[in-house]
C-alpha cells in the first residue's frame, strides 16, 4: 500500500479546534475626539497654575508610541511647602468654616463636571497611561465621578458615621497616588478628604500627571475655594516632601509595598495618621463545580484588566485539580480573541504597559518563571512595533516557591496553581505576604461564605472579580496595607474621633 501523505489523514480526522482567523477582521476604530491637553502643565497651588520655583519640567510620554505628550512641572520641596501652606490657610480660614451641606455642593459640582468632561478625561488618561480607551471611558472616569457623587452625599451626614462621638477633620492631608488608575485613585483620595472637611496636597505618579492637573481645571471651574485642593507633580522626592511636611497631619498612600515601608519608616515617631494601600498577589480560587466559562471570564477580567496593573489583580489562579486542564484549555481559547494593541482603538482589550521600567520588570519576572521551570503560554497576537507592549501570558505548573507565585508582577501574567481540597485552597491562598483581595468561584453558596471568612483578604469576590463601588470599603491585610477607602470606613480614616 502506498504511503498516504499526512495531509490526507489530517483531512479525514479534522482536529477539533476552533478557528479564530482573519475571515472577518475589525477595521481600526480609533477614538478621535480632542482631549484638550496643554503642551505644558504647571503645578496647581492655591487655586492657580504656577510654574515650579526651580523652573524645571519633566516630559511625560505616551507609552503606546513613546512620543512626548507634554512637559510637566517638577515640584521641589519649596513648591510643596507653598502648597501645604496654601492648604493650611484654606483650611483655617475657609474650609473648616464651610458647612457640610456647602462642601457637598462643591463635590456634586465636581462630579457633574467630571461627567461633562468625561470624554476628554478618558482620552487624556489613555494617551498618558496606555490603558485601553474602552476601560478609561467605561470604568475609570465614570467610577471617579461616582466617588464624588457618593461622598457628596455624606458631607452633611457625617454625624451618622459614629453616633454620640465627636468627629473633626485632620486639617491638611498629604496624598500620593500611583500610575495605574490616575484619575480614579485621585477621586478615591480627594472625595472623602473634602467630604470630611480636610484640605488636600496630592502628588500624582510621575508617568501619569495629566489627568490630575486637568482635575485642577475642574476645581477652578467648580469654583472650589482656593487652596482646598493642591496638586504637585514630580517623582519620589516630591512625594517624600509631601509626606514629611510638618503641616500634613494625615498621609494617604497608594503604591508599592516597598515605598509604603519607606514612608512608614520615615513617619515612625511622628503623630501623623496613615493609611496605606499597597501591593497584592490575589488568589482567584476556582472549584470544580463552578460555572467554568464565567469563571474563565472572571480570570481574564481579573488578570488582564488594565494590563494587569491592578493591585487587586487575580494574579494567582488556584484551580481544583480535577478541572485544571479544562480551565486552561478554555482560558487559552478565550485569550485567542483578546485584542492587544493601540489603546486608542475602541476594540482594544489590552493596551500598553505604563512605562519601559515596568515592561522590563515584567519581562524579568516572566523570564524567572521560565527559568524556574513553569510552563509558559502566551497568546499569538501581533504586537505593535513601537511602544511598550506585553503578550497576555499564563504560567501553568507553577509551585508556591516560584518567584512568579510570590512576587507582585503588576502585568498581564497569570500563575496557575492547583489544589485538591478547600482546606488546601485556603492554605495556599493565605500563604503570601499580601492580603488585598481574593476570588471564589463555586456553585455552592455555603462554600462561598465559609471561604470568605477563612481568606485573609480585604475584599473577597464571589463568582465575579474586580467589582468596585464607592460604598464598598477597599483595603488590605498584612503587607497589602491598612486603612480602608470607600464606604463609611473610608470616611472615618479622614476624621479624628473623640
Amino acid at each position: 500500500m502506498p504511503k498516504t501523505p499526512s495531509k490526507t489523514t489530517a483531512k479525514t480526522h479534522p482536529a477539533r479546534e476552533l478557528v479564530f482567523g482573519d475571515l472577518w477582521e475589525y477595521d481600526p476604530a480609533p477614538e478621535t475626539a480632542d482631549p484638550k491637553m496643554k503642551k505644558k502643565y504647571d503645578l496647581f497651588i492655591n487655586g492657580e497654575f504656577v510654574p515650579a520655583k526651580s523652573g524645571k519640567y519633566f516630559p511625560t510620554i505616551n507609552p503606546a508610541d513613546e512620543t512626548k505628550i507634554a512637559d510637566i512641572a517638577l515640584a521641589g520641596a519649596n513648591d510643596v511647602d507653598a502648597a501645604c501652606k496654601a492648604a493650611q490657610k484654606a483650611f483655617t480660614h475657609v474650609w473648616s468654616k464651610t458647612s457640610g451641606q456647602e462642601r457637598g455642593k462643591y463635590l456634586y459640582r465636581i462630579a457633574r463636571l467630571l461627567q461633562d468632561h468625561a470624554r476628554e478625561f478618558a482620552i487624556a488618561e489613555t494617551l498618558d497611561g496606555g490603558k485601553p480607551i474602552k476601560e478609561s471611558r467605561d470604568f475609570d472616569v465614570p467610577m471617579a465621578a461616582a466617588h464624588f457623587f457618593y461622598h457628596a452625599g455624606w458631607a452633611d451626614k457625617l454625624e451618622f458615621l459614629a453616633p454620640g462621638r465627636k468627629l473633626s477633620p485632620h486639617g491638611v492631608v498629604g496624598q500620593v497616588i500611583p500610575w495605574n488608575f490616575p484619575l480614579l485613585m485621585l477621586a478615591w483620595k480627594i472625595a472623602p478628604a473634602l467630604a470630611t472637611g480636610n484640605c488636600v496636597v496630592l502628588k500624582p505618579a510621575e508617568t501619569t500627571s495629566i489627568t490630575a492637573l486637568k482635575f485642577g481645571e475642574i476645581c477652578q471651574e467648580a469654583g472650589l475655594p482656593k487652596g482646598v485642593v493642591n496638586i504637585v507633580s514630580g517623582a519620589g522626592e516630591t512625594g517624600a516632601a509631601v509626606i514629611n511636611h510638618p503641616l500634613t497631619t494625615k498621609v494617604a498612600f497608594t503604591g508599592s509595598t516597598e515605598v509604603g515601608k519607606l514612608i512608614m519608616r520615615s513617619l515612625a515617631g511622628t503623630e501623623k495618621k496613615m493609611t496605606m494601600e499597597l501591593g497584592g498577589k490575589a488568589a482567584n480560587i476556582v472549584f470544580d463545580d463552578a460555572p467554568l466559562d464565567q469563571a474563565v471570564e472572571g480570570i481574564v477580567n481579573g488578570i488582564f484588566f488594565n494590563q494587569g496593573h491592578v493591585c487587586c489583580a487575580g494574579s494567582r489562579l488556584l484551580v481544583q485539580e480535577s478541572v485544571a486542564d479544562e480551565v486552561l484549555a478554555k482560558l487559552k481559547r478565550r485569550m485567542a480573541v483578546l485584542r492587544v494593541g493601540d489603546p486608542m482603538d475602541k476594540n482594544t482589550d489590552i493596551g500598553a504597559i505604563n512605562s519601559r521600567e515596568q515592561l522590563e520588570r515584567i519581562t524579568a519576572l516572566v523570564k524567572s518563571g521560565v527559568d524556574e521551570g513553569a510552563e509558559l503560554h502566551q497568546s499569538a497576537c501581533k504586537l505593535p512595533t513601537k511602544g511598550f507592549f506585553f503578550r497576555p501570558s499564563v504560567f501553568a505548573n507553577v509551585s508556591m516557591s516560584h518567584r512568579i507565585a510570590r512576587e507582585e508582577i503588576f502585568g498581564p501574567v497569570l500563575s496557575i496553581l492547583t489544589f485538591r481540597t478547600p482546606e488546601e485552597a485556603v492554605e495556599k491562598a493565605n500563604n503570601t505576604a499580601y492580603g488585598l483581595s481574593a476570588g471564589v468561584w463555586t456553585d455552592k453558596g455555603s462554600r462561598i461564605l465559609k471561604m470568605s471568612t477563612l481568606l485573609k483578604a480585604g475584599v473577597v469576590w464571589a463568582n465575579t472579580y474586580n467589582k468596585f463601588d464607592p460604598a464598598s470599603p477597599f483595603g488590605g491585610y498584612k503587607e497589602s496595607g491598612f486603612g480602608r477607602e470607600g464606604g463609611k470606613q473610608g470616611l472615618l480614616d479622614y476624621l479624628k474621633i473623640s
Binding site: 477539533r16 476552533l18 478557528v19 479564530f20 472577518w24 474602552k134 467554568l292 466559562d293 464565567q294 475602541k346
Partner: protein
C-alpha cells in the same frame, strides 16, 4: 434512532455539562456590544447577516400573495447595491408549495415550521405527519419545537425520542430544533436542553432559540449560552451543530452584536449561513438600509424600503 432512555435527573446532567452563571454570562455578552465596527468590517458584517436571514412570515393571515412577495424580497432584498439573497424563507407548512413556485431551484431555501408550531401540543403522530407533509411539499428545512412539558417534568428521554423521530421524518431536510428559551426560563435549563437536543440531531442541524410567538425571544445572553453549548459539544464529539437565534432581532446593530458573539465564541467556521442563521423579518430592511447608507454615504428616505413588510 437511539434506544429509549430512562429519565435522568437534571442534576446528573449538570454534573456532566456544567452550569451557567447568569451575572457572568450577561457581563460577557455586554462586551460584544462595545465592539466598534467601521468601514469594510461593517459592510462585511451587514452582508453576511443578509445571507443568514431566514425571512419569515408566520401569521394566520398569510396568503399565497404575501408569500410570493416575501419570496421576491428574499431573492432580491433591494433593487440597488448588489445585495445578496437571504438564506431562506420561513413559512407555515400550508404555504410551502406556494413558496416553492418562487424560490424552488434557487439558492434560497424553503424552511417550514412544523410539529404543531408554536406550542407543540399535539399528538406525536400528528406532528410527524405535519413534518412529512411539509417535506413532501418541498421544504428543505424543518423548524420543530421541543416538548417543553416533557423537559420541565424531567422526562428528558421522551423529549429526545421525539426529536429523534422528527429527525427521521425529515429525511434529507435540515432540522432546526426550537428550544423556546423563554419557557425554559433559566440559562441552566437552556444549556441542558441544548445538549439534550444536540445529542440526537445530525451534523449541520440547528438548535434555535425561539418561536417568536412568546414575549421574550433571542437575546445575546441565551444566544451565548447556546453558542457555548455548541462549542463544548463540538470539541467533545467533533459534531458541528448550527445555531439560529430568532425573534426580537430587528436592527442591523443587534445582528452585528450577535455575529460578534459567533466570531469570538465559535470562530470563523461558524460565520456562514450553513452554521448560523437569523430568524427575522423586519431585520432585513434595516440591514439593507445600513448597507445603502454605507454604499451611498447617506441614509435614504424611508420609502425606499418596504416598511409594509414589517410583518415579515
Amino acid at each position: 434512532m437511539p434506544a429509549p432512555q430512562t429519565p435522568i435527573s437534571l442534576r446528573r446532567l449538570f454534573d456532566e455539562i456544567g452550569t451557567v452563571d447568569q451575572v457572568g454570562i450577561e457581563e460577557r455578552v455586554a462586551k460584544h456590544t462595545t465592539r466598534s465596527l467601521k468601514k469594510k468590517s461593517k459592510v462585511f458584517g451587514l452582508r453576511l447577516a443578509v445571507t443568514m436571514v431566514d425571512l419569515t412570515t408566520l401569521e394566520g393571515k398569510d396568503t399565497p400573495g404575501k408569500v410570493a412577495s416575501l419570496c421576491q424580497k428574499a431573492l432580491c432584498p433591494h433593487d440597488e447595491g448588489d445585495i445578496p439573497p437571504t438564506a431562506a424563507v420561513c413559512v407555515y407548512p400550508s404555504m410551502v408549495r406556494h413558496a416553492r413556485k418562487h424560490v424552488g431551484g434557487t439558492q434560497v431555501k424553503i424552511a417550514s415550521v412544523a410539529t404543531a408550531f408554536p406550542s407543540g401540543q399535539a399528538p406525536l403522530k400528528t406532528r410527524l405527519a405535519e413534518v412529512r407533509a411539509a417535506v413532501a411539499d418541498g421544504a428543505d428545512e424543518i423548524d420543530m419545537v421541543i416538548n417543553r412539558g416533557a423537559f420541565l417534568s424531567g422526562e428528558f428521554g421522551l423529549m429526545q425520542d421525539e426529536i429523534a423521530a422528527v429527525v427521521e421524518a425529515c429525511g434529507k431536510a435540515t432540522l432546526k430544533v426550537i428550544l423556546e428559551v423563554s419557557e425554559l426560563e433559566t440559562y441552566d435549563n437552556i444549556r441542558a436542553a441544548s445538549f439534550l437536543a444536540m445529542r440526537v440531531i445530525r451534523p449541520g442541524d440547528f438548535i434555535k432559540t425561539s418561536t417568536g410567538k412568546t414575549n421574550s425571544n433571542a437575546t445575546l445572553g441565551n444566544n451565548q449560552v447556546m453558542l457555548e453549548a455548541i462549542r463544548d459539544h463540538y470539541l467533545a464529539t467533533g459534531v458541528p451543530i448550527a445555531m439560529k437565534p430568532a425573534g426580537g432581532i430587528r436592527t442591523a446593530k443587534q445582528a452585528l452584536h450577535f455575529l460578534i458573539a459567533v466570531k469570538e465564541t465559535l470562530g470563523d467556521e461558524w460565520l456562514n449561513n450553513r452554521r448560523y442563521r437569523f430568524g427575522a423579518s423586519a431585520l432585513l430592511n434595516d440591514l439593507v438600509r445600513q448597507l445603502e447608507k454605507e454604499r451611498t454615504g447617506a441614509y435614504q428616505a424611508p420609502w425606499n424600503f418596504s416598511e409594509a413588510t414589517e410583518g415579515y
